[in-house]
C-alpha cells in the first residue's frame, strides 16, 4: 500500500496542468464493398476468406478441406456431425490434440481483416490458439469499416475475454522471413455466412 501512495503522490506532484478531453472527431473511412475489402485483408493477413456461404456450403468445405484430419472440434451445433472431438472438457490442456476448430465470431473489420472472437462463443479461451487450424464463421452482414466502428459495436465489458484475430499466427523473427504458424493456428479460414445464424438442426 505504501508504494501505491508514494507513486500516486509523486504523480500528483509532477503531472502537468490538467488538459480537457480531446475533441471528438470521427474518422469515417467507408469502403465501397465491405465484404470484398474484408476478404482482401484476410488474405493479406495470411488467411483465407470464403465470401458467401450457406451452412451446408461450410460443412462441405470443411469436409473437403479437413476431412482427412482427426480431432475436429466445433462450438457450432449445426456442424456437430462433422466434429469428432468433444469440447466438453474441464481442463483446457486437453485441447492440445485438436487439429482443427470451427467457431463463431460476432463480426469482422474490413480495414484489417480481423474478426472479434470472445468468450461468448467459446468453451475455452485457448481454443482459437491451441488448435492447429482455425475456421471462423461470421454473419455476412456483420462487417464494419474500421476499428473505430468496431469499438462502437463491441462492449468489451460484456465479456471476460475477447480478441481481434487477423489471419493465422505468424512471425518474421528469423531474418524478416514471414513464417505462418508460430504458436497459434497454422491457418485461418473465415466464412461469411449468407443465411440465418442458427438453422434448425
Amino acid at each position: 500500500m505504501d508504494s501505491r501512495k508514494k507513486i500516486l503522490d509523486q504523480i500528483k506532484a509532477n503531472k502537468p496542468q490538467p488538459l480537457p478531453s480531446p475533441a471528438e472527431e470521427r474518422f469515417d473511412a467507408r469502403y465501397a464493398d465491405l465484404a470484398e475489402t474484408f476478404g482482401e485483408m484476410v488474405n493479406t493477413a495470411g488467411g483465407v476468406a470464403v465470401l458467401t456461404s450457406t451452412w451446408s456450403d461450410i460443412k462441405s468445405h470443411l469436409f473437403a478441406t479437413f476431412g482427412q484430419l482427426t480431432n475436429r472440434a466445433t462450438t457450432i451445433p449445426f456442424l456437430a456431425d462433422w466434429a469428432d472431438f468433444s469440447l466438453n472438457v474441464s481442463d483446457p490442456h486437453e485441447l492440445e490434440m485438436i487439429n482443427v476448430a470451427v467457431i463463431e465470431a460476432d463480426f469482422g473489420v474490413a480495414e484489417n481483416g480481423a474478426v472479434w472472437v470472445s468468450e461468448k462463443h467459446l468453451t475455452h479461451r485457448v481454443l482459437p490458439f491451441i488448435a492447429q487450424y482455425l475456421a471462423v464463421v461470421i454473419p455476412k452482414h456483420a462487417l464494419v469499416d474500421t476499428m473505430h466502428d468496431a469499438y462502437e459495436r463491441v462492449n468489451i465489458q460484456d465479456t471476460g475475454w475477447g480478441c481481434f484475430i487477423a489471419g493465422p499466427s505468424k512471425t518474421a523473427d528469423i531474418e524478416q522471413s514471414l513464417v505462418i504458424g508460430a504458436h497459434g493456428a497454422r491457418g485461418l479460414t473465415v466464412f461469411l455466412l449468407d443465411e440465418q445464424p442458427n438453422p434448425a438442426l
Binding site: L8, K15, E96, V126, T159, C163, S169
Partner: protein, 463 residues
Amino acid sequence: MKPTELDHAGASEVFNQDEPYVNWHDETLWFVRQKRDKAAFKLPEWEALRERASQIKSYGLSHMDELLEEFERNAIRNGIQVHWAADAAEHNQIVLELLRKHQITHMVKSKSMLTEECHLNEYLTGNGIEVIDTDLGERIVQLRQEPPSHIVLPAIHLKKKDIGDLFHEHLGTEAGATDPQYLTEAARQHLREKFLTRRAALTGVNFAIAETGGFVVCTNEGNADMGAHLADVHIASMGFEKIIPKAKDLGVFLRLLARSATGQSVTTYSSHFQRPRQDRDSKPQEMHIIIVDNGRSTQLGRADFRNSLKCIRCGACMNTCPVYRRSGGHSYHNAVAGPIGSILAPNLDMRKHADLPFASTLCGSCSNVCPVKIDIHDQLYKWRQVLAKEGHVPASKNMGMKVMTTVLSRPRFYQWSGKVGRAVMRALPATVSNSLNPWYKQREMPQPPTESFREWYLRNRKK
C-alpha cells in the same frame, strides 16, 4: 555480440568492423520502415490519427493519478488483483512472491520490455525460477544469453545461420539448417511443450483501459494467449504510462501500432483481458496486474521530457534512425534502444546513459514517424544541454566546446583562426588527416578553400 561495457560510439565502432553485415542490418531495418510507409500512406486520416493519439496521451499524462485509480477500481471489480511497484526491485519481488505462494518454479513469459528494464529474468533465475521467453525472437536471444536488440524485432541483429547454429545446439535441429520455416517449426514444438506444462504466465501490457479495468496485449505469434489461457496464474506487468482513458481510444491506437511497427494493418492477435478465466469444475484463474513506476513519475515532472512517456513501443523510430540502423540495438546498452531509448534512459541513470543523447544526427526522422508525435529529436538535443550542465559530458567534449566558444565569440580571433587553419591544412595535411582526428575516420578531409566566404564577399561586394 555480447552486451558490452563500451559506450555507444565504442560499441558502434565494433559493430561497424564488418561492412557487409552493417549494410545488411541497415537495409533490413529500412525495409521495415518502408513497409510502415506503405501502410501509413493508405490511410488519408493518418496524420489526424497521430494527432489524436498524441492528444489522448497528453490528456492521460495530465490526469494520470485519476486514471490509474479508476483503472484499479474497475480491475478489482473485474476480479483482477492489482499491485503497485515503486521500482524494478519491488516489481521483481512481487512476481517472485506470487510464484512462491503457488509453489511455482517454472514460468513462461511473453514479450515485456518492462521486465527487460527490471532485469526480471536474472532476478528470478537467481532465485531458482526458470523463465522461458516465448516470443520466437526473444527465445532466440535468451538462448544466446543476450538482451533483445530491438523492442519489436528482438533478434533483428542475427542472420539465419546464427539461429540455425543456435537451434542445432539447443533444440537439436539439423546441423547447417537455415530455412526459417523449418527453424520456426522447431521452436513451435519446443515452446508448445513449455506452454502445456507451465502453471504461471507473465505478459506485458500494450494498453490498460481506465474505463473498463481491463488490458490489451498484442502479439503476432499468439504466445501471450497460449501462455495466459493455459496458466493458473497470469501476471501482467505494466509501466503506469500504458493507461488510456476509454475503450474507444483503442480504435485509434490499434490502427496506429502495427502499421507503425511492421506495416501490418493490425497485429494478428489483439487480446482483451477483462476478467480471470473460469474453467468448469475448477478454481478461477488468478489474474494479477503490477503497475510499475521505476522512474516514470520523475520523468513526468520533467516538462521537457515527459512526452517520452507517450511511447507505445512500436519501434518505428529505431527502424528509421540512420544511427540505430548502422550501430545496432546492443550499442545502446539499455533495454530500449534507438532514439526513444536514448531519451528514456538518462532519466533512469544520467551518468550511465550520458552517451545516448549524442547517438543521433538530430535529423528528426524519428519524430516524423512517431505515431504519438513525441518530439524525440528535440528531446535528444535538450538532454545534451542537461547532461553538459550536470557534468556528465566527457572532459574532451567539454574542453572542445569551451575552445569553440572562445573562438566563435571573438570575430577577429575567428577570422585569424580560419586563415591559420586553412594555411596549415594546405601546407601540412597530415596535421588533420590522421587517426587522432575523429572527423578523418572513414573519410578524406576536404581540400581547404583558399579564402573564406567573408574574404570572397569583401572582395566582390563592390563589383
